[in-house]
Symmetry: C2
Subunit: 226 residues, 2 copies
């Protein structure tokens, strides 16, 4: 079997698909959030690395992309003392879900966040993401983002006592995935994986509450919902 | 708070770390496998997308990088009728672990694989990965790989009735991560996330068997162990 028959195994079709989603069709960050608009059912797993334990959860996540001139985008820029004219847009994200931890307690997690996106002047596929609040902190939080060569959105955020690196990508227009790692005091504490399927609003509102949580409640919430 | 104070939040340090692992220090695929050499404890979660169920597991994984002139690399090239002089090396990977599914049955998973790496002549960070066998298939299997701009190894493999896309990356030299998605009959069936911590051999051999499996045994095994 030579090189040509290896290609005949069918690798080429998938490669083309990757390229369509990647470097041959580079997406900017607002295209990413526009593709994210709608309601998603998120299936989530957190690996607590030190404890070698796994925590599972489900949530419904709603994403709305905001144009650059949306009043809430302007407001967040002003909060951070950044010229609103530099923003290319933003998004509103809300979530409603539950996490499981030992299946012996219950706690619902819901919340929302708004953010604005400020691309670098010379590198339009990267920049700063300004949030209204940093969840674990009271002060406004800014993270650094870039779109990678597979059209993944990579977001790095430093808080006072922790930092996170998240990567979001589309396996298909209706399947979004993410991984995130959180460092506390310089060491990795958790790694989380979410698979998110696009759903109709009616179905999303019927997401069952999974019994559960919180020996150690997860203090960290992602920019794309929890 | 202006742009300079945003940088003062500490984003820069993490950004530098990402760049060290990424585009400013691009890794080739053999460097990836050399960094992977050793024994790892893998914490694994599979999301069965249609069933909205989560399957957990643990394994010990051992990786050994092979030089281009290793007899097993040459043998695999010959099996695929590819000139062994084109190979830049390969690896031997073995694993021993267990997956849980409803915690009402037991099944151990162990196995090993050997593969050879053939870079593209004009794009040395991408190429073809030749395997001795494709796990689910009897015929020799070839996948396409590339190193992405964050030094992630992306591997795409098509089988007769399924295809997989895997991405492996290092969060640190002793924490390797991976995601993989499997498509069957054109639709996504599973998404898997593994966090893999480097361990001493003595510790790895003591990995406890997690009670286990298999209403629907996972037919798909990754190139970097199961």
């Amino acid at each position: 079997m030579g090189q040509s028959s290896l290609l005949g195994l069918g690798c080429v079709g998938l490669k083309v698909e990757i390229l369509l989603f990647g470097i041959e069709n580079p997406m900017d960050v607002m295209e990413f959030f526009q593709l994210s608009t709608g309601t998603w059912r998120s299936q989530r797993t957190t690996h607590h690395l030190a404890f070698k334990r796994t925590e599972a959860g489900e949530s419904a996540i709603r994403v709305e992309a905001f144009a650059a001139d949306h009043p809430q985008v302007i407001e967040i820029c002003q909060l951070h003392e950044v010229d609103p004219a530099l923003a290319i847009g933003g998004a509103f994200v809300s979530w409603n879900g539950a996490m499981s931890w030992d299946r012996n307690d219950d706690e619902n997690h819901e919340g929302s966040t708004v953010f604005a996106l400020i691309p670098d002047a010379d590198h339009p596929r990267q920049g700063i993401l300004l949030r209204e609040r940093g969840y674990a902190e009271i002060v406004p939080i800014a993270g650094q983002y870039h779109m990678d060569d597979e059209n993944g959105l990579v977001l790095t955020t430093e808080y006072e006592t922790m930092s996170s690196i998240e990567r979001f990508w589309f396996a298909s227009p209706s399947l979004r995935m993410r991984t995130s790692t959180v460092k506390r005091f310089g060491g990795f504490s958790t790694a989380t994986f979410c698979t998110e399927m696009r759903v109709a609003d009616a179905i999303a509102s019927a997401v069952e509450s999974v019994p559960e949580t919180a020996v150690e409640p997860t203090q960290y919430f992602s920019v794309l919902g929890c």
